[in-house]
Symmetry: C2
Subunit: 339 residues, 2 copies
């Protein structure tokens, strides 16, 4: 498949940074298709006033379809045009289903795991929400180490603008990690994606002037003293709070500012909620490609080190600027283990 006009310049850039052979379709078909679907979802959301308020009923007519269902459909339609995408599964339908069955002449075969519309609790108040997708080598994401098998990830961001983060895994000697910030400009018949920043990074040459923290599920801190103490510590250390409750905007905030820590801890009472295939693995790849760290909130191990056993696995998350992640791990995991 040729990339759409809207994604032509992005496809060209991806071709220039990916190895010369073996990833053509990732650059010219799979990632452009995901960007096309993000542009289409942003257009669908723009007029979805009643949908957002109804919270997912479709009793009022065409423009009031459940936005999650509409987003799911738009991603699947875009992937169906990619002959190297063998299967796909999503947070809405967590089964790896066949997309294309062997029509490709390419040696490339991918599966895509995605969350079509993350942040449902903040759609009604018109806050920024997002799409999350991971692209994996092979026809299944199960059984392999995500650090090896997940080759790319995309975050779509629906706010005042439509933007996206595209991350490409690093492979020593072959492929440097890439983390791009893209912006979509809508225009009748001629919308296009452009690169806004070609090196998104959580590391800066000078110490950050403002330090940010995003504590998810603070209700867990009611029972978990170590989480409560850590939050208090950020406050007394004069960190700035930014927490929207949407995983995509919360991570994109830190990526844009170049600093931050996001915490979604797991406690005895507060179970793991984030899905590994549709949320944790793609965002971990993005954070790692931006020079940050993403670890499991229960073990402190890198999210991408543990193979997936099934598509609905869940976990907690600590991610962001490396030294901030280390500090949070020390407070939330090591201290607890020692006590």
């Amino acid at each position: 498949m040729e990339p759409s006009l809207a994604t032509a310049s992005i496809a060209k850039h991806l071709q220039s940074v990916l190895p010369a052979t073996g990833r053509e379709s990732l650059a010219t078909s799979v990632l452009p298709a995901l960007l096309d679907s993000i542009a289409a979802i942003s257009e669908a959301l723009r007029s979805a006033h009643h949908v957002a308020l109804a919270g997912g009923t479709n009793a009022f007519g065409d423009d009031q379809l459940n936005v999650d269902v509409a987003a799911e459909r738009l991603v699947r339609e875009a992937l169906a045009r990619c002959d190297t995408v063998a299967t796909a599964s999503s947070e809405e339908d967590p089964v790896e289903r066949t997309v294309c069955s062997g029509s490709s002449s390419s040696s490339e075969v991918y599966t895509v795991g995605f969350d079509p519309l993350d942040g449902s609790s903040i759609i009604a108040p018109n806050w920024t929400v997002g799409t999350i997708a991971g692209v994996w080598d092979g026809a299944t994401a199960l059984g392999s180490r995500p650090a090896d098998a997940q080759v790319a990830a995309v975050l779509g961001v629906y706010g005042p603008r439509t933007t996206a983060i595209v991350a490409l895994r690093g492979v020593p000697g072959q492929q440097r990690p890439v983390c791009l910030d893209l912006g979509y400009t809508a225009s009748p018949g001629a919308g296009h994606w452009d690169i806004i920043h070609d090196k998104v990074s959580l590391v800066s040459a000078t110490p950050p002037k403002v330090r940010y923290f995003a504590p998810a599920n603070v209700r867990a801190a009611a029972e978990d003293r170590s989480y409560q103490d850590l939050i208090l510590n950020y406050i007394t250390s004069k960190y700035t709070l930014r927490y929207s409750g949407g995983l995509v905007p919360d991570l994109v905030h830190m990526l844009t500012k170049g600093h931050g820590v996001y915490l979604s801890p797991v406690t005895a009472i507060s179970k793991a909620k984030l899905r590994r295939l549709y949320e944790l693995c793609p965002v971990a790849l993005v954070i790692e490609c931006a020079d940050g760290k993403a670890v499991d909130a229960a073990t402190g191990e890198p999210v991408l080190d543990t193979p997936l056993a099934h598509t609905d696995e869940r976990g907690g998350l600590i991610c962001g600027t490396s030294d901030e992640v280390d500090r949070a791990v020390k407070s939330l995991i090591q201290r607890v283990a020692e006590s």
Copy 2:
């Protein structure tokens, strides 16, 4: 001035809820003009990728103008078409300057105080931001009690959708308070505003399932023990945290959910930051028209009770669901006064 096609149905609704005489121009001209400018700002923001990142330089061409400046210009251009708006002033230019000088045949005379683009720190990460405007009787907002003189307020919300809250002051025996939630649907040459909710309220018949808190400037809690204790109390009482750092999205979140408390306290070290004319008075009118409370964070007195002495006055804010505001006032002001 006739309302634009985009605002015709809203103007008709406003005419039906405002008194039969004396407010024609508010319904058919001033509020429609503000809604037109909000629609125009949302379009300008949609493609302002470089602006957002550059943070206000205009060295790269037409589409990279400072977005604050562009928003300011769009509001002023819209107001210039209203022959009953005598003066206007804004957070960007805090002087009440003449807009129309006596060309009106109407007995209505208004001044508008506005913040064209609130939330500059969260524009780069593509989070929801907003516009705030208050409409006041007379050619100046200074000297009168805001509860009497400020007749309407508008919040524009730029997120995945473009929405707005419109509030009309209540006048016993003449005018019930009104708080509308509107949605804008863009369309080449034929965009339009529609009413999504005609009664936004912070009071619900049943107790809220989820209680929300939005603590602004948590760094102030580093020195202020009463603020720190209040935040901890929300956490241990299992309130849900939602804090974007944008005044408009933070308030619209609670208005949409029907519950919440927003805190921007003033402490010995953390000075008052919110501008009374451009931020506090308009949002206080919105919150009151939605059956909530908005009080000064230093005194606990209603924001709208104290006349403005000058256009650049500042203050702190506690607002939201009434019993939540009372509780916060007790913790932050009364306890401190007694100690």
